[in-house]
């Protein structure tokens, strides 16, 4: 697994502060970067999921499950349901699962239109 962890940095990054579910299963002190291809987008309640295929460094792909915030939270912070689609190349930063499974909570994702979007949070003040 470590082979495809492109970068791991310890950082105290604020998780979605009052997000609906606990994020206790993710190591919020670690940021890990992954680049890969979107296999599936589940723009669903209660949270949005991105399935991302990324090479593991040994010639195989691993399927990552990346959790973001609630659909409404993403829609209010620049996302649309079709911002990323199956087949799109993305690079993202996530907090990895403490268990070591290929799953994580999204921190940022560079999407095909060039923007870097977050996991859904509060909109800016008007």
């Amino acid at each position: 697994m470590k082979a495809y962890l492109i970068a791991a940095a310890v950082a105290l990054v604020a998780a979605p502060a009052a997000a609906h579910h606990s994020f206790a299963m993710f190591d919020l002190t670690k940021d890990v970067a992954v680049s890969g291809t979107i296999k599936e987008v589940q723009f669903t309640n209660p949270h949005v999921w991105f399935q991302v295929m990324a090479p593991d460094g040994t010639g195989k792909d691993v399927e990552w499950s990346i959790e973001a915030g609630a659909p409404g939270m993403l829609l209010r912070t620049g996302w649309k349901p079709n911002t990323v689609k199956a087949g799109d190349k993305v690079s993202l930063v996530m907090h990895p699962a403490k268990s070591g499974k290929p799953t994580g909570s999204l921190v940022t994702m560079k999407v095909p239109d060039g923007r870097t979007l977050g996991p859904g949070g509060a909109p800016k003040a008007e």
Binding site: A15, P16, A17, A18, A19, H20, H21, S22, F23, A24, M25, L28, T29, Q42, T44, N45, P46, H47, W49, S65, E67, G69, A70, P71, G72, M73, L75, R76, A97, S99, K101, T103, G120, G121, A122, P123, K124, A125, E126
Partner: protein, 251 residues
């Protein structure tokens, strides 16, 4: 003629000035879509935090610890109390609507609306009330402050300050879980501030079964009529396969 023309121009200038000076929102114009300022960059107000060292009763301390443990009886998808509903986070908007006999409040993160009776009725007698998550709410105006009184809780709602199990060690929240019992009594004083562009809710929580002393915090919301309200269903694609939920009580 020229003088008459000048007079007409002067009158119209005065009229325009008067229109510009007229407040956009009336003092009781709370009926709109709002979103809490929690986490909001550039907001004019900051939420007061929930207490981090509440004076728990013995029963309350045990209930709080249990809510933070992995064997909590509280389901992660249970609704909140009115205090949590009005917690002022910036992740989910609220919508306040007038009805003939009541005020209705929606919160995107919850399916159940708040129904707050404004027709002068009282709470039902304690032994006749049907305990619910959101309780029984009545309200009246004191000047331009809407005072809401809520009782009749079932003691099963999620903690006022958020998560149940897993919260304390999540790194997100390290404060004790502010649980509520069936003796919860919430009094809110809602008023417009900043020319009606923000709403302030001073929330007083009393629950003698849980807390030796009640507490009051002020939460703020920004008026955001352009925001769309989305459907939210907690018990849908929860993805335990990907460790995407920690609903210990439901397992």
């Amino acid at each position: 003629m020229a003088l008459a023309g000048l007079a007409a121009v002067a009158v119209s200038v005065v009229a325009i000035s008067a229109e510009a000076a007229a407040p956009k929102y009336g003092p009781r114009d709370i009926f709109d879509t709002w979103i809490g300022v929690g986490g909001m960059e550039g907001a004019a107000f900051k939420n007061e935090p929930w207490p981090t060292h509440p004076e728990f009763t013995e029963w309350g301390k045990a209930a709080s610890d249990k809510a933070a443990s992995t064997d909590t009886q509280l389901h992660e998808c249970f609704p909140w109390t009115p205090a949590g509903f009005m917690g002022g986070n910036g992740l989910f908007p609220i919508q306040i609507m007038p009805a003939r006999n009541s005020i209705v409040m929606l919160y995107e993160a919850m399916v159940s609306p708040r129904r707050i009776y404004t027709d002068g009725r009282k709470h039902p007698p304690a032994d006749e009330i049907l305990p619910t998550f959101l309780g029984h709410s009545i309200a009246h105006w004191e000047g331009d402050t809407l005072v809401i009184d809520t009782v009749g809780h079932n003691g099963q709602a999620r903690p006022i300050n958020g998560y149940v199990s897993g919260a304390v060690n999540s790194g997100v929240e390290t404060n004790p879980r502010l649980v509520a019992s069936d003796q919860l009594h919430v009094v809110e004083r809602i008023r417009l501030v900043q020319n009606g562009t923000y709403l302030e809710d001073a929330i007083t929580v009393e629950d003698p079964k849980v807390y030796k002393k009640g507490f009051t915090v002020k939460k703020y919301f920004q008026r955001r009529p352009e925001l769309e309200f989305n459907e939210y269903v907690c018990d849908f694609n929860r993805r335990p396969d990907a460790e995407g939920q920690t609903d210990v009580a439901a397992q």
